[in-house]
Symmetry: C2
Subunit: 229 residues, 2 copies
């Protein structure tokens, strides 16, 4: 299995929506669903705080929140920077239809929840973390509550890992489509792969292992296979 660099990850996304004709709504639905299914495999039902970023990683988180509700969890959103794009507005609207609240006091929510989903930044992230996300990451870096990161632990460099010292140490990482290079540095308990929409030729090129059931996620060997070769 290949661990993708930032450019390769971006190229995969472009190919899925261009050459293969996927709508972003489809990819996000299946990605977010795979995050929710991964969580349902490992954590008991309870209160889940989803920290939502301003881009597609946040969109995946909004989808995951809705599916977690359907799976019997009690999700709450923390969504400090809500973009005006219809895609995100609609996903947030669907959460509202599912009576999923949006919280404003992060510290209070962290103390109340059983699990945190980090859907702040994905593989497009680079550079420094700007406010208000710097303080969000500080809070997530200090809590003892288990954190599930969507695709990338937020604040980590997509390829190098936690070089800026964000301190985020997720308990679970759900890699989407294929793991990114920073996943080699992941030291948590559960590494899952989701995003089961990769056409066969592309899956072969990326070395994606075969899913063996009819679910949307697969547990990867831990520590990652590549580290042990």
């Amino acid at each position: 299995m290949k661990f993708l660099g930032q450019k390769a990850a971006q190229a995969v996304d472009v190919e899925l929506m261009g050459k293969h004709g996927y709508a972003i709504e489809q990819l996000m639905e299946l990605a977010g669903l795979s995050v929710a299914e991964s969580i349902a495999r490992e954590y008991p039902k309870g209160r889940v705080l989803l920290c939502i970023g301003p881009g597609n990683n946040g969109g995946d988180g909004l989808v995951a929140a809705r599916h977690l509700h359907h799976f019997g969890y009690i999700p709450t959103l923390f969504y400090p920077k809500q973009p005006s794009k219809d895609l995100y507005k609609n996903l947030l609207h669907q959460c509202a239809s599912h009576q999923i609240p949006v919280a404003s006091d992060l510290e209070a929510e962290v103390s109340k929840c059983d699990l945190i989903v980090d859907a702040l930044f994905g593989f497009s992230f680079s550079g420094a973390v700007r406010p208000p996300f710097d303080s969000v990451l500080r809070t997530l870096g200090q809590t003892a509550k288990p954190i599930v990161s969507v695709d990338i632990p937020s604040g980590w460099d997509v390829e190098q890992g936690d070089v800026s010292g964000s301190g985020l140490k997720p308990d679970m990482l759900v890699s989407l489509t294929a793991p990114k290079k920073c996943a080699e540095k992941f030291g948590g308990r559960f590494h899952y792969l989701g995003g089961r929409f990769v056409p066969p030729k592309m899956a072969k090129e990326l070395g994606i292992p075969e899913y063996t059931d009819a679910s949307q996620c697969m547990k990867l060997e831990h520590p990652p296979i590549q580290q042990r070769l």
Copy 2:
């Protein structure tokens, strides 16, 4: 659980995409996925012929074909009337990316396959079946191969059942969102419910039973609960 009439089913769809802000691509993705998951619960891996109609029921079938491929089945499409709408063109394109062939000889494909998916007409259907679908339905009405109908057995009246004598006797029915009235006349072995995207207030109004796991489908009691009350 309510068994919906045609107008009620149409109103549910309007509410999901209007009031609750869902994109058709999301609903279709989850509906088609629930069909594929239902099949994976009951039938061994093998050749699946998906008969695709010109509307949204056909779209659900195109999505199901792709997920069936991912689940290890060998899907083939029969798609005699391909609409020019981007939604369907893109779904077909995704099937092509998954190397799912489109067949032209229905009789030959029926004889080769292990299972048939009827994704011809859904809850919008009314009136007479026009060519080429009249001959497609005759073929499906005569085969001994098991048939899985998506939401409605095609040719059946949405409320009254097989009043026109289509002769279609599906082995499995996957009701989407909520069963339609004709499902009371379903006499096959497996009745599933899919389309796990109904917000809680609406689900309560429709009397949708609680899903108990993290999958996209649920097996309904058979014969349908309502018949036994």
